[in-house]
């Protein structure tokens, strides 16, 4: 067999892994790889983003909606450092992404050469694994390992840094997918006696309660969860990233957990006697003050990541396992029961929230449009089936509260890191992974301007996403905290915005701005039925607050309705 360059080996390895979409941005140190890519345009599509942060968020959106790995390319130095925010985001939200960065030639490493940064060092805390490759012949094995690590166990981002001489070097290509690494144990062997212990607790519980997280989605365990829930009769609540993993209209679904979640699931956390947590990690946004969190409950925790067990709360039973496998076995061990009066407690508490918050939010008496009524109407018009990508802030919390995610892999948001600027590029990635689905990016006026340059990517690649800007002319979430906890001292949260619709038009994107309730329904219809990218700016109430709220340092049982 004739030899090929390391660069061509990169592309051939990606093809061997089934990659057909790459998000990237070229530069000096990765030019040989881009040159090799030129000959493979029939097999792989390269999306030229406008900033490397856009590349990685797009790769994340792609990965999270298509259950595959996202891939991005960046050059050395500034190209690589621009990936860092996205790596941190993918790390904390367990998203499989493979980043390939170019690096200066190996003889220049460590010499402060032009565009040299220690990307391995910088990315170490925010990658599941990273490696530098300095010889062409090591490229396929490094990439095979990268894909295996990114996808397996608890998924995460990996970075492969390839020196320029390795890209130019010649090698014999032979690709073997990686199936095992001796020091890595991604598939835990479940201890069935733990499942028995869990079943005993659940079968004798008076007020058992299930908390689900993204682990359900990542394990593809939606069906197993549904069967378990229906047999056991136990009420279910979800974290932010768990939304979409369980039907929101199911009679046993009791709502969304956490700081701006629903009233009932938060307040009744401190009433449950047994809690079964599956694929969630007791983030502080979910627990509030952890010293006053579910102290009365015996906790059963199922997670694929051993380090999550007993990390925040102390478990009665820890089950180190894949959620799909664990739930399937647990279903066979639990008794068929109902918990009507316990679920009724949730419904009673829910009434308080409907009266105090929800009714007013979706059928407001205020003059100005409220974020919640916009999201609620969008949810109805799309029947909860759209892929909804949100940015970070009030609009994000409102969306997670009022959009009914009825389909799997449709709730895409930056949960753990809370990265403003995530939504626009992530929506681009989501659309490319799901060309036939409606993708709506709900973004605040502040966050939109953090990655606004990606409108150029939409223009160039004709990406049909719907951009819904909820414009309150404020860095709203921070303003809310200033109002509630800093005596309304609005320190640098009022933001002067550009003319968004005109900007969209500059990118050939059709756009409309509305500020009246009477215009809302038609505007949403126009947006949803347009055959190309569309930007709808909805001017909403400036000083709307998101409630309920568990304030920092408060217990979940101190959740405020106003």
């Amino acid at each position: 067999m004739s030899q090929i360059t390391g660069s061509e080996a990169v592309i051939k390895s990606l093809v061997a892994e089934g990659v057909h979409t790459i998000f990237g941005y070229p530069g000096g140190a990765i030019m040989p790889i881009y040159d090799a890519l030129y000959d493979y345009s029939d097999k792989v599509t390269h999306i030229l983003v406008r900033h490397e942060q856009g590349a990685i968020h797009a790769a994340q959106g792609f990965a999270r909606t298509s259950e595959t790995c996202g891939v991005c390319f960046a050059t050395s130095g500034p190209g690589a450092t621009n990936l860092i925010t996205g790596l941190a985001d993918a790390m904390i939200d367990s998203t499989p992404v493979v980043c390939i960065t170019g690096q200066v030639a190996s003889h220049l490493l460590g010499t402060d050469a032009f565009q040299e940064t220690d990307v391995i060092g910088i990315s170490m805390p925010v990658t599941k694994w990273n490696v530098q490759v300095k010889r062409a012949q090591d490229i396929p094995a490094a990439l095979a390992k990268a894909f295996f690590i990114a996808r397996s166990g608890r998924p995460g981002p990996v970075l492969v840094d390839i020196t320029k001489d390795a890209q130019f070097g010649m090698m014999d290509f032979n690709y073997e997918a990686c199936k095992d690494i001796r020091s890595y144990f991604p598939n835990p062997v479940m201890d069935p006696t733990k499942i028995d212990d869990a079943a005993v607790l659940l079968n004798t519980a008076k007020k058992p309660y299930i908390l689900i997280g993204q682990g359900i989605t990542l394990a593809n365990a939606e069906q197993e969860l549904l069967e378990f829930v229906e047999k056991s009769g136990i009420p279910v609540a979800s974290t932010l990233l768990g939304l979409g993993a369980f039907p929101p209209n199911h009679p046993q679904y009791v709502g969304y957990l956490g700081m701006h979640g629903n009233y009932a699931p938060n307040i009744l956390t401190n009433e449950a006697d047994v809690i079964l947590a599956v694929g969630m990690r007791f983030d502080d946004r979910v627990t509030g003050d952890v010293s006053r969190y579910a102290k009365q409950a015996k906790i059963i925790h199922i997670d694929i990541d051993f380090a999550e067990l007993n990390k925040i709360v102390t478990n009665e039973v820890s089950i180190h396992a894949d959620a799909k496998e664990a739930l399937a076995l647990l279903t066979t061990k639990v008794e068929r029961r109902t918990h009507e009066s316990w679920i009724q407690e949730f419904r009673d508490a829910e009434k308080l929230e409907v009266e105090a918050v929800i009714e007013d939010a979706i059928h407001p008496k205020h003059d100005r449009l409220q974020m919640a009524e916009v999201v609620n109407m969008l949810s109805e018009k799309t029947d909860g089936q759209a892929i909804v990508v949100t940015d970070v802030g009030q609009h994000q919390m409102i969306t997670s509260r009022y959009y009914q995610y009825k389909a799997q892999n449709t709730n895409i948001t930056s949960g753990g890191l809370g990265t403003m600027g995530f939504a626009l590029p992530a929506a681009i990635g989501a659309k490319l992974g799901n060309p036939s689905k409606t993708v709506v990016a709900i973004i605040g006026d502040g966050g939109f301007q953090m990655t606004i340059q990606e409108l150029g990517t939409i223009l160039q690649f004709k990406i049909d996403i719907k951009i819904l800007i909820l414009n309150n002319n404020f860095l709203g979430m921070v303003r809310q905290w200033q109002e509630l906890f800093f005596e309304k001292r609005y320190s640098f949260t009022d933001i002067v915005n550009p003319n968004f619709t005109q900007i969209a038009k500059g990118y050939d994107i059709e756009a409309l701005k509305i500020d009246q309730r009477t215009e809302l329904s038609e505007a949403l219809d126009t947006m949803l039925s347009s055959q190309a990218a569309y930007l709808l700016e909805v001017v909403v109430e400036q000083e709307e607050n998101v409630f309920p709220m568990v304030a920092t340092g408060a217990s979940v049982s101190e959740i405020r309705l106003n």
């Binding site: 199936k179 001796r182 020091s183 598939n187």
Partner: protein, 179 residues
């Protein structure tokens, strides 16, 4: 929660950057590393780190699971002082003149079971292995002789339980599911 001395042993692949990946986990939690040493282990290609920290047991347990989560870490253990045998080594550099002048030097060297590594006309180097307080004691006694230089290694420790790393690995591999 009460702080205690824990001896953490980490066995890893011999890959570049491993030390960094491990220490990041301590830095993130603002844990001070009292001492750290690295060397080969009894298994070819596997490196071993001995890390000493003074922390509550709960914290150490959590750190261990986060260390084990690193792809290239094979296994990590933690042991309290009474579960390990440990040693440190120290070197002391003294002016030869000072040592030769009085009769006390010989007594000190003998009493502390120190070894003389080299005697040059200008300086002499002594070596002492033992517990940190023994090393410190010798240091105090040698100080009046005009100690020129002093260096102490980090701790090396071996646990008392008999199960070998190889056996641990075997158990883990028997349980390994390869899809």
């Amino acid at each position: 929660m009460e702080n205690n001395t824990y001896n953490i042993s980490v066995f890893t692949e011999n890959s570049v950057g491993m030390l960094n990946r491990i220490t990041i986990i301590f830095t993130r939690r603002n844990i001070n590393i009292e001492s750290i040493t690295a060397s080969e282990s009894e298994i070819e290609g596997i490196h071993r780190y001995t890390i000493v920290v003074n922390e509550p047991k709960e914290t150490v347990r959590k750190v261990i699971s986060q260390i084990e989560k690193q792809i290239d870490v094979v296994k990590a253990f933690y042991h309290s002082d009474d579960e390990v045998v440990y040693q440190e080594i120290a070197l002391y550099k003294l002016p030869t003149k000072a040592l030769a002048s009085g009769g006390d030097a010989e007594r000190i060297v003998r009493a502390h079971h120190a070894r003389i590594l080299t005697i040059e006309s200008e300086f002499t180097i002594l070596e002492k292995t033992g517990y940190p307080d023994e090393i410190k004691e010798l240091f105090t006694e040698l100080k009046p002789f005009g100690l020129l230089e002093f260096v102490r290694s980090g701790r090396v420790a071996i646990s008392k339980p008999m199960k070998t790393l190889e056996e641990h690995l075997e158990d883990m591999n028997n349980e390994k599911i390869i899809l």
